[in-house]
Every structure is written in structure tokens, then in C-alpha cells.
């Protein structure tokens, strides 16, 4: 039954679960980030640069950004569904949202690759 709820027949359940899973990943990352900042306390450029150097941190940050994008997509989509009753306008807004989040993903990926 639980598995059946996650099939394509119930897309709402998938969205619901995705929102929760991404939230958990982001919560863990946020606490980790706060602890890392508190321990390393980067105050000059070299320290700030080396803060982003470890491979595990880049991967974690990238994963965080992917989760953030999915989470924001579901959240803002719900807001549009509630407050934008006109279907055409809503479709346009959702497309803009998708483009924006995609651009942010490319931007963030580029940042974690370059620095």
C-alpha cells in the first residue's frame, strides 16, 4: 500500500514526500554549515576560499542546492495554486519559476566547480 502510494497514480503523494525528504536534507546541511562556520570562522579571503575547498563540502553544498530547488519548486507552486486562480497566468508563472530555478542550479553548480 505504501509503495503503491508512491507510483505515478498518486503524484500528490510523491510531491508531499519529496518536500519532506528535501527538507530533511536541507535541515541537516544547515546545522552542519552553522557548526562549520562556528569552528573555522573564516575572516580573510584565503580562509574563505579554503572553506569551500573540500570535495565532500562541495558535493554536500551541491546536493543542498538541488534539494533547495526541488523544495522551492513545490512550495512556490503551492502558493501559485492558492493565489493565482487564472490557469493561463498560473502556467506562465510556473514556467518563469522553472526557468529561474534552473538558472540558479546552473549558477550554483558553476560556483561549486570553479571555486
Amino acid at each position: 500500500m505504501l509503495i503503491e502510494l508512491l507510483t505515478k497514480r498518486y503524484p500528490g503523494m510523491r510531491a508531499w514526500l519529496m518536500q519532506r525528504l528535501t527538507a530533511l536534507v536541507m535541515a541537516v546541511y544547515s546545522v552542519m554549515l552553522l557548526v562549520r562556520v562556528a569552528i573555522l570562522q573564516p575572516s580573510i579571503y584565503e580562509e574563505w576560499l579554503s572553506f569551500f575547498q573540500p570535495l565532500w563540502f562541495r558535493i554536500a553544498s551541491w546536493l543542498f542546492w538541488i534539494c533547495l530547488s526541488l523544495h522551492a519548486w513545490l512550495g512556490v507552486r503551492d502558493v501559485f495554486k492558492d493565489y493565482v486562480p487564472n490557469y493561463d497566468v498560473r502556467e506562465v508563472l510556473l514556467k518563469i519559476l522553472a526557468v529561474l530555478l534552473s538558472v540558479y542550479i546552473v549558477w550554483a553548480t558553476w560556483l561549486f566547480l570553479v571555486y
Binding site: A23, A27, I44, Y45, W48, A72, G75, V79, P85, L111
Partner: protein
């Protein structure tokens, strides 16, 4: 043909939908307050995303740019913005954890939900206060 009928029925459903947009007539219980703030802070956090990416990129690009970013972050206006943003983050964080707790059927009765609403608001305020102390002292 069928698609057209669906569109028409959708349109009439839209027109006949009841609306109550007079916000002053709506009483806001504390759990509703936490809920709407969760949504509002989520929207605010979404809107600030490009600024975060821009700040990251600029501060990482070179040593002088890093210094500029730090000096911008030290200005009074930016600090106030940061404080508001920090509250938005902390509230969204704690209210989200409350949602997760309720998803596993923990604290779901009305009295308990009211209690956890107060806890969420208090935790958000306290954490923001700690952040303010860290920002200014």
C-alpha cells in the same frame, strides 16, 4: 470537443467559487499564524536566492572583492536585512520541523498543536536574538 467542455466547466467553476478576501473578518489562531508565517518566510527565502548566489560569487572571486563584501555586510542596513532574513530562516526551519513531527503523528491534537506553535515562535525569536548578539557584539 471533450477538452473544450472541460475548459468551460473549469471556467464556470472559477466564476462561481465563493471568495472571502476581507482579511479583517478572519480570526487568526496561533497555529494559523505559524502556518502563514511559514509560507511567507518560504517566499522571502526564495526571493533572496539570487542575492545569496551573487554574494557567494562576488566574495569568492578575489581578495579585494571579499573585503568589499565584508564591508557591505558590516553596514547597518545590511545587518538589519540579515537579521530579518535570519528570522525568516529560523522560523521556516522550526515550523518545518513541526510539520515533520505532525507527519509522524506527534503533537497532533489541538491543544498540543497550539503549544508547539508557541514553541516554534519562541525558538525563532530566541535564535534570532542570539544571531543579533553575534552580529552586533
Amino acid at each position: 470537443m471533450q477538452n473544450n467542455e472541460l475548459q468551460t466547466s473549469r471556467k464556470s467553476a472559477q466564476k462561481n467559487r465563493p471568495k472571502n478576501l476581507n482579511l479583517t473578518t478572519i480570526r487568526l489562531p496561533i497555529n494559523a499564524l505559524v502556518s502563514i508565517l511559514h509560507r511567507a518566510t518560504g517566499c522571502a527565502l526564495f526571493l533572496i536566492l539570487p542575492v545569496i548566489l551573487l554574494a557567494l560569487q562576488y566574495s569568492l572571486s578575489s581578495a579585494p572583492n571579499f573585503e568589499t563584501t565584508v564591508s557591505i555586510l558590516h553596514s547597518r542596513f545590511t545587518k538589519l536585512m540579515l537579521l530579518g532574513l535570519a528570522w525568516a530562516f529560523f522560523h521556516h526551519f522550526y515550523a518545518g520541523l513541526r510539520h515533520l513531527a505532525m507527519d509522524v503523528h506527534w503533537m497532533t491534537t489541538l491543544m498540543k498543536a497550539r503549544y508547539t506553535s508557541k514553541v516554534v515562535l519562541a525558538l525563532g525569536a530566541v535564535t534570532t536574538l542570539i544571531f543579533a548578539v553575534y552580529l552586533w557584539f
